[in-house]
């Protein structure tokens, strides 16, 4: 099967982010989306630690440990940026003011349930961060992930088996194999990565994909 590279996947997500959108990019792969937003679109990035208007990485030697994003990467400000404190930052998230959040996931269920904060492995202490706040507050939750686990087991399920982050919150899933919307009838195919067939993609997906 044809698989999008990480950068091609980031570019595919970026293509769907409209001009003027307020966007939160989750830690990990989603942070790379901003690099691929098409020219001519102004997107305002929010980071949960208290900034709206995250700008590009500073040049080497100009890093400031008190200018970071939620992934703890060094940042600068974009024009029109503002700083605020945590309860205001999460009011912004929970209150429905952002337009889109892009998040990674362990599992997504066909009813939009998301599991992205804990596995069943009891060895690690639980750690949730801001994920639960984002998913209840942001109207469009885009998930960006590999279509399957490394062992080939499916991540797009009828029902999540890992602890949930939020119930029925996912709008769209972008994987290396396909783009799928979450609808009232379940996953609906938006597009296949070039060269893939629905039959092939369905074979590595536990939930039914509606054409």
């Amino acid at each position: 099967m044809n698989r999008l590279s990480d950068s091609a996947l980031a570019a595919r997500v970026a293509f769907d982010i409209p001009d003027g959108a307020y966007v939160n990019l989750g830690i990990g792969k989603p942070t790379h989306v901003s690099a691929y937003v098409p020219e001519g679109r102004e997107v305002i990035y929010h980071s949960e630690n208290g900034i709206l208007g995250v700008g590009p990485t500073p040049p080497e030697g100009e890093e400031d440990v008190e200018m970071i994003d939620a992934s703890k990467r060094y940042i600068t400000t974009a024009p029109g940026a503002s700083f605020f404190e945590h309860s205001d930052s999460f009011a912004m998230m929970r209150g429905g003011h952002l337009d889109i959040a892009v998040l990674g996931a362990y599992q997504v269920a066909e009813n939009g349930d998301l599991a992205n904060w804990a596995t069943l492995d009891q060895k690690f202490p639980p750690a949730v961060g801001g994920a639960m706040d984002l998913v209840v507050g942001v109207p469009k939750i885009f998930v960006m992930m590999q279509h399957t686990n490394r062992d080939g087991s499916p991540k797009l399920l009828r029902k999540c088996t890992y602890p949930l982050t939020g119930l029925g919150v996912v709008s769209r899933v972008y994987t290396d194999l396909a783009v799928l919307d979450v609808t009232s009838e379940g996953f609906r195919l938006v597009e296949l990565t070039k060269g893939n067939s629905l039959t092939d993609v369905q074979a590595v997906t536990e939930a039914t994909i509606h054409a």
């Binding site: 630690n49 208290g50 404190e85 202490p125 961060g129 639960m132 209840v136």
Partner: protein, 221 residues
């Protein structure tokens, strides 16, 4: 009115064994490293630490954990790259952990500071973190009832301060500092630049009423 104290040691002196302590900071930003070092030196133990993270490497909260001073951690994200001292204490069952979604943590602290007795948040509804909690559904949306989170002390990091306790911050170093100032009974601020002149009233982020003492600590990590 002059809330300035001369040393970090003097600032943390009121902290006793068993105290609950909010500690500002997120990632590398806005952590009161100087006050944490002074607290370690001061010697109080059996502390409940309320913070977003549980420390990383060998500095900040990790130092308190390494020193065996922490009985309980309330945070949203205890696991960070290098949070080895937290992991060590947690695995050895030497500390209690309460994980709270980050926005709920901030809002619970705000509720404490604002005299709110509880609030309904959609965050965490239907998840493990809402288990055992009161819930309700309003207009088809599920909510969890969350309680205010008070503390005896807050350790804060700010950029500028004045004798009245007014504070302002640099960049993303605000994070939990302003809200923690409101939620603790005694808030102590480590400030990069303390002036004897008042801050401009429009530029104040934390009004001095929320701050009990201010100590200059010029190091920005």
């Amino acid at each position: 009115m002059d809330k300035r104290v001369n040393t970090l040691a003097e600032a943390v002196a009121p902290i006793q064994d068993g105290a609950s302590i909010m500690i500002g900071g997120f990632g590398s930003s806005g952590i009161p490293f100087g006050l944490i070092d002074a607290l370690l030196e001061h010697g109080a133990g059996e502390l409940t630490v309320i913070s977003n993270n549980a420390g990383a490497g060998e500095t900040g909260i990790a130092k308190l954990l390494k020193g065996g001073r922490v009985a309980k951690v309330i945070c949203s994200y205890p696991r960070s790259p290098g949070s080895i001292w937290f992991e060590k204490r947690y695995e050895a069952d030497e500390i209690e952990l309460e994980v709270v979604p980050q926005g709920t943590l901030a809002e619970r602290i705000r509720a404490a500071g604002a005299g709110i007795g509880g609030f309904l948040t959609p965050t965490g509804y239907g998840t493990l973190l809402a288990e055992g909690k009161e819930t309700r559904v309003i207009d088809g949306r599920g909510y969890v009832m969350e309680a205010p989170l008070h503390a005896d002390f807050a350790l804060l990091r700010a950029e500028r301060g004045d004798p009245w306790g007014n504070l302002s911050y640099h960049g993303t170093a605000r994070n939990f500092n302003p809200v923690m100032a409101t939620g603790a009974r005694h808030s102590i601020a480590e400030v990069r630049h303390v002036s004897s002149d008042p801050l401009a009233p429009e530029s104040v982020v934390t009004p001095g009423i929320f701050v009990q003492s201010v100590v200059e600590y010029g190091v920005r990590p």
